[in-house]
Amino acid sequence: MTKTTGTVTGVNGNMVGVRVQGAVSMNEVAYIRVDEKRLKSEVIRVRGDLVQVQVFEITKGIKVGDPVEFTGEMLSVELGPGLLGQIYDGLQNPLPEVAEKAGNFLEPGVYLDSLPRNKTWDFSPVAKVGDRVQRGDLLGTVPEGAFSHRIMVPFGLYGAYTVRSVRPAGAYRIDEPLVELEDERGNLVPVSMVFRWPVKRAIDCYAERLRPVQPMVTKNRIIDTFFPVAKGGTYCIPGPFGAGKTVLQQVTSRNADVDIVIIAACGERAGEVVETLKEFPELVDPRTGRSLMERTIIICNTSSMPVAAREASVYTAVTLAEYYRQMGLDVLLLADSTSRWAQAMREMSGRLEEIPGEEAFPAYLESVIASFYERAGIVRLRDGKTGSVTIGGTVSPAGGNFEEPVTQATLKVVGAFHGLSRERSDARKYPAIHPLDSWSKYKGIIEAPVVEYGREFLFRSAEVGAMMKVVGEEGTSLDDYIVYQKGEFLDAVYLQQNSFDPIDAAVAPERQKRSYALVLDVLSAEIAAKDKEDARQFFYALRQKFLDLNGAEYKSERYAALEAEIRALVAGRKKGVDPRGARLIERLE
């Protein structure tokens, strides 16, 4: 088959028109030749022999008549050992290597191998000659960091195959043929450790999808206790600028109880990625004792990098996540921000002169967002193991108003909503997840009725707070005032968490439960107080002790002492106990 070629007919921003000779397919990759450079692009519309491509580079310098080569391949990524610890751009170019080659700036047209070709991996074969295999089946393993990386039948090999030869255990480069497969017509197919997969297609080599039920612990109290996320689930964090979306994702990327974390920095600040990529190599993953970087992949297409590659970056990220899921691992994908991805679609749609929907977003926005989040899930693989991809995306709504297309489309499909509020972040109440508006459909680390008890106080306290604004403190009964103080107390000592405190930043489930039990001891107590001022004094003293407790190392002497002091403080004021609360505390212990 001869390669399709074409010539440039027009340039409008990063969209280029091409007249083609030969066959082209949608989402095919094409290279525009500009002087000595080849600029990568993707076909996004075909009309007769006139094709529109989006260019993943600055388009300056392109002229009408420049030659274009079509590759016949869809936009795809390389899958194989060596992905962990990498820092890629949206098209899977390794950025540190690009810097070595091209210097300080991202010069257009520099494309490098995603996986190092000179490195060798210790291969242990699993498949035997004569085995019947299909796509995704295990052929062998290589150690990659703390994991056993599975070498699998490439996902693109549809149909049934028989293993004809397997190389013995030993060190090989990723592109050396290791296994020979024979298809049903007798053709031999060599298989190495690396293969490609188109990013816009979900990887589907598993037996069945399961319901996400097991909590994915983030060590964030308000999330794990109140608005939990499940392994294989989806959640979104919408919030106005500066409300704390990125910080929340950063702490989650460090502390989440998963095997692998993929960070997709999509159209946001470069500086934020730099923090991660400089700090992670120094931090230790408590699960493996190795550096955090060894369980992390960063896909970095920040706001000043070309917009078309930004659109591709979330797909690159989710494809890598699915790949590791196929190894029976739990993967967390954090995308910041999905709104920038949606805007990239909007820019392109505008240049294609499509009929715009709301706020000029394309009409297909909702379905594209839905099918992206659909790529999350927990699956049972054909060998019985389970693996999961959890997706958490931030949303940056225009004007901080959640009634906008991207937030609304996302809320329709996710399993948990962590809505950040401007009032809370202004008042430095971090994480600024709104405790009344947010929700989750997943099970958390604490039973629902026990959680509900605390939440009721938040609602009632907010009611009293609102009422007090109308009738004043003097028009509020002492009982109501105490309810108000209880809600404020729960908020201050449990919902708020200091991400920059070495101890408070990450709280394991066991400590969360113990801490919550202590909070419930306060909430369920009938507090004796002379008047409101007396009640306020009491709650402030209690809060002070509890904040000190939050900063104390778990089960240290200081922790035990502070806990005892808090119990004593409460006992000194307790004139009775709400029996329902007492029963729930028992269930916790």
Binding site: I58, K63, G65, G103, F105, E107, S303, M305, A398, F500
Partner: protein
Amino acid sequence: MNKVYSRIESITGNVITVKAEGVRYGELAEVKTRFGASLAEVIRLDEGLVSLQVFAGGRGVSTGDEVRFLGHPMRVSFSDDLLGRIFDGAGEPRDGGPTLSENLITIAGPSVNPSKRIIPREMIRTGVPMIDLFNTLVKSQKLPIFSVSGEPYNQLLARIAMQAEVDIIILGGMGLKYDDYLFFKDTLEEGGALQKAIMFVHTAADPVVECLMVPDISLAVAERFALKGKNVLVLLTDMTNFADAMKEIAITQEQVPSNRGYPGDLYSQLASRYEKAVDFSDAGSITILAVTTMPGDDVTHPVPDNTGYITEGQYYLKGGRIEPFGSLSRLKQQVNGKTRADHRSIMDGMIKLYAAYKDTLEKKSMGFQMSAWDKKLLRYGEAFEREMMDLSVNIPLEAALDKGWEILASCFEPQETGLRTELIEKFWPKKTA
């Protein structure tokens, strides 16, 4: 190369089209009109038809005017000769000095490879407590001042520029009032900083397309100095004028607007400028302080809104003060852990109490009885506004922290502040009888 075309096919707003061949996207051309020559930039290619944006505007352009393509994109001369000079948005001298033409560099180049950046780690001291204490400015930060028009934002910008220890100051003025232009010039001169300053100034009277060039020219020059190891401070005022210029062009181009007439790529356009702020691993740095005026004092207006999503915080200027709410330096935690042990806690604690003060103020305005606690808060809020927020306060960070403890101690009991016991033991002012 330099082909000359003498027939202009269409003129819409500031955009003209010419039938031409072999023209590159982004290339410059010179258009000769009866009012003189103007540069123009290629903004669209469609088969044989080339669309150009004329810097001096479309007014007075005739279909018979000559268009000569220059074969290169927009460039600016770069050398130490720039220091102390003043140019317009097209890079032409504004100060009567000689035109510079050697060592031409392309503007709006590719972005820095993120792996060549380093984590910002140096505080820029300004003497303004609302900045140094509560929202520390950091070298290589990009930070706008959100302001209602009429606020002294250019004064604040100039004051920070004069206090900051940087090698080079570049001022990019967009739609600047002539008086403000003179104000900057005089301030730099009086402070003896003119010799380390370069100004690219588009005034309200200049053609709108030239406004679009100002950030790119300023930042391209800044980038070169940074690569030579210099620490550069870029002041951009007013970015809302820049965005409005973009909007104007987009509308004449009949692009589908996304929000209040602004083009859908407003975010990307602003980001590609602001992201030029950088601390290089093996060279100097660029810090960007910009002004974004908010039409109708509305932060949700597309320009401040998109800006806030891009920059590393913002200073919210209102009523002649930097507001604690809405103001934010996102890089502050990179530096405020190393200043003084009480810095972070005072920063958070005082703001939480100020928020409570605002609630009380609301209650008071509705005529409710003030509790003992409310009264304390009222006293606190007033002291805070007077001794911290007022822009005339000019003290170093350490003095501001001490002042913070003093204010707290004069209003509250220690446990009412929500501060941790060990800090209180160390810093709470001892009662002097």
